[in-house]
């Protein structure tokens, strides 16, 4: 009975357009109070749901990303890639994918990457004859990479729920991120080739390339500092995030000289608000999960999944189908909170490695971000490109098919995810 109340309330609220955090919070709180499940702890649980050192990485990574964006670093990176590969067939679309991959290594959120790269590359793409919807779809899909390529907010959340090392997850995401990136480039290139999207005419001389490289070297160093620190075990992800903040500040203020004090306040406010939007969902999803576990719905669903899956591969497939279905109505973070508590006992039952599964789970979620109707990246891209979400969604189909192929690869070959973190000594299965 409890569980009918909690799920029904949640879906009704989502249906009438309430924010996800409100829907989770209200349905959980109503259930907790109505069935007397320990309501007096609600206030304290709200605070303790936020007060966690690993989650602190979220505002810091967001802040570092906002600083680098305001400093105009995306343009610098795009310029460098333009000189490097701009002349190839579909040059600008490849530049867009590379810039997104790179931006993904600076920031951990898909829509933020779509916005940062879209604002810089959409206009030149349109001017060079690329289709509006194709340009938007390329950028929206390439931005998915930012939640697979570390640092990634999704991995921080996954680690927080499953108590798996976030550092190990970050490193596990590197190879899958690169594979997906290469796949995205191939699709963009092939479509450009078929439609005759030509490369840029002017060629970059070696001197120009060297100059652009020198200009972007400081940006290029940012992920090296952050990931290098985590990789070698010098920093925890939260420490790496705060180092990234001060590194970005140093680059923006002293190297690019593109930061003023009023800018800084605005940057801090925007970063705090963006991080709070995420935490609003995180904190109430936590309370929702608590209520749901008391009502027994979590154990029941875990049992169900175990009973209907004859083996691990079928289970992963089934859950992926569920992920696509949920991805149509929910964002990546809520899905993480709603599904992972159910899946932890299931993973244990099938002896599935949680780091390996983390990469699969997050990759599947990433696909969801570029699939309608909720696909947040699609909306951001449609806004920027000035066309309908449906048009972009149609152009996104080849990219999504490629993503699915990569997902199958990652599922069948655990070493793609696990080799690096084990080799770096960050993880022992």
């Amino acid at each position: 009975m409890e569980f009918v109340l909690i799920l029904a309330l949640f879906f009704v609220l989502m249906f009438i357009g309430a924010p996800i955090g409100t829907s989770l919070g209200v349905s959980a709180t109503a259930t907790i109070i109505y069935f007397d499940l320990g309501a007096e702890m609600l206030g304290v649980n709200f605070a303790s749901g936020i007060a966690s050192f690993p989650l602190l990485a979220i505002p810091f990574f967001v802040l570092a990303g906002v600083i680098l964006q305001r400093a105009g670093l995306a343009a610098t990176i795009a310029e460098f890639f333009e000189l490097l590969v701009g002349r190839m067939t579909g040059g600008l679309s490849i530049v867009a994918v590379l810039t997104c991959m790179f931006w993904g290594a600076l920031s951990g959120s898909g829509p933020a990457t779509t916005a940062a790269v879209g604002m810089i590359l959409l206009t030149p793409m349109l001017r060079n004859g690329y289709g509006r919807a194709f340009s938007g779809a390329t950028i929206a899909n390439a931005s998915d990479l930012s939640i697979i390529i570390p640092p990634s907010i999704a991995f921080i959340i996954y680690g927080n729920i499953t108590s798996v090392s976030v550092g190990a997850l970050f490193v596990a995401g590197i190879v899958p991120g690169l594979i997906t990136g290469i796949g995205t480039i191939l699709v963009a290139w092939y479509i450009s080739y078929r439609r005759g999207y030509k490369g840029l005419k002017q060629r970059g001389s070696i001197q120009e390339l060297a100059r652009a490289f020198k200009k972007s070297i400081w940006a290029v160093m940012a992920p090296v500092v952050v990931l290098g620190g985590i990789y070698t075990g010098v920093f925890t992800p939260t420490e790496a995030a705060v180092v990234a903040v001060f590194y970005s500040l140093f680059v923006a203020a002293l190297i690019y000289r593109s930061l003023t004090w009023p800018d800084l306040v605005r940057i801090l406010v925007d970063a705090a608000v963006t991080s709070s939007v995420i935490m609003f969902i995180v904190v109430f999803a936590g309370i929702f999960t608590w209520a749901a576990s008391v009502t027994g719905v979590i154990d029941a669903l875990a049992d169900l999944i175990i009973r209907v899956s004859p083996n691990a591969v079928v289970m992963i497939l089934l859950v992926n189908i569920l992920l696509f279905a949920l991805g149509m109505i929910l964002d990546a973070i809520s899905i993480c909170y709603l599904l992972m508590p159910i899946l932890i006992p299931v993973l244990g039952n099938f002896n599935i490695d949680p780091v390996y599964y983390g990469v699969i789970f997050i990759s599947a979620l990433a696909i969801g971000q570029a699939t309608p109707p909720v696909g947040v990246n699609l909306f951001t891209a449609a806004n920027l490109a000035g066309c309908e979400v449906d048009e972009i969604a149609r152009e996104a189909i080849p990219f999504v098919l490629m993503d699915l192929v990569v997902l199958v690869l990652l599922t069948l070959l655990p070493a793609l995810s696990l080799y690096l973190p084990i080799w770096a000594g960050l993880y022992t299965p």
Binding site: L13, M14, F15, I16, G17, A18, P19, I20, G21, T22, S23, G25, V26, T29, I33, A39, E40, M41, L42, G43, V44, F46, A47, I50, A51, S52, F53, L55, L56, P59, F60, L63, V234, F235, T238, E239, V242, V243, V245, F246, V265, L268, V269, A271, A272, V273, S275, S276, V277, M279, F280, I281, V283, I329, L330, D331, P373, V374, V376
Partner: protein, 161 residues
């Protein structure tokens, strides 16, 4: 009714300062540990509690900006009057949610001051001081929910300054 200091809203100042402080304390911690081999990790406790405070104000500003994520697929197809009723309903529920959280938090604070008098694990600060952030700063959440509802009900989004 926005209080402004040097042309910037009070709530904006507060989130900015809280985030800056968090970053600064955490950074000094990293520096001291790796460069001076001296750890004042106890301050971690302050950082994560400032994070709680920052998040509460940030949630409020995000409400005002209409920035919280939700599913609008069905909402966009609703007739106008149904849209308005929905906005009214979920805004009231959101305000109610924070009201409930605050009532229980105030109860917890009262218990802490009179009964338990618990001190934080690493710095020995009475925990109710950290707890007090929720009832005090929730004022910005209610303000945000109210302004968001007002904007959506009047079909025009007042430009946030």
């Amino acid at each position: 009714m926005n209080i402004r200091i040097m042309g910037i809203r009070l709530d904006h100042w507060l989130v900015a300062i809280l985030l800056a402080l968090m970053a600064l304390i955490a950074f000094l911690n990293v520096l001291s540990r790796y460069i001076f081999h001296f750890s004042f990790a106890a301050t971690e406790e302050i950082t994560i509690n400032l994070f709680v405070w920052m998040t509460i104000i940030g949630i409020g500003i995000a409400f005002e900006r209409g920035g919280h994520l939700g599913m609008v697929t069905f909402f966009n197809r609703f007739p106008r009057r149904f849209k308005k009723a929905s906005v009214l309903l979920y805004s009231l529920l959101a305000a109610g949610l924070f009201l409930v959280l605050n009532l229980f938090m105030i109860q917890a604070i009262a218990d802490e001051i009179t009964l338990f008098q618990a001190k934080s694990a690493s710095l020995g600060i009475p925990v109710w001081i950290y707890y007090a952030g929720l009832p005090l700063l929730s004022v910005f959440v209610f303000q945000g929910i109210f302004r968001d509802a007002k904007n959506r009900l009047s079909d025009s989004r007042d430009k946030e300054v």
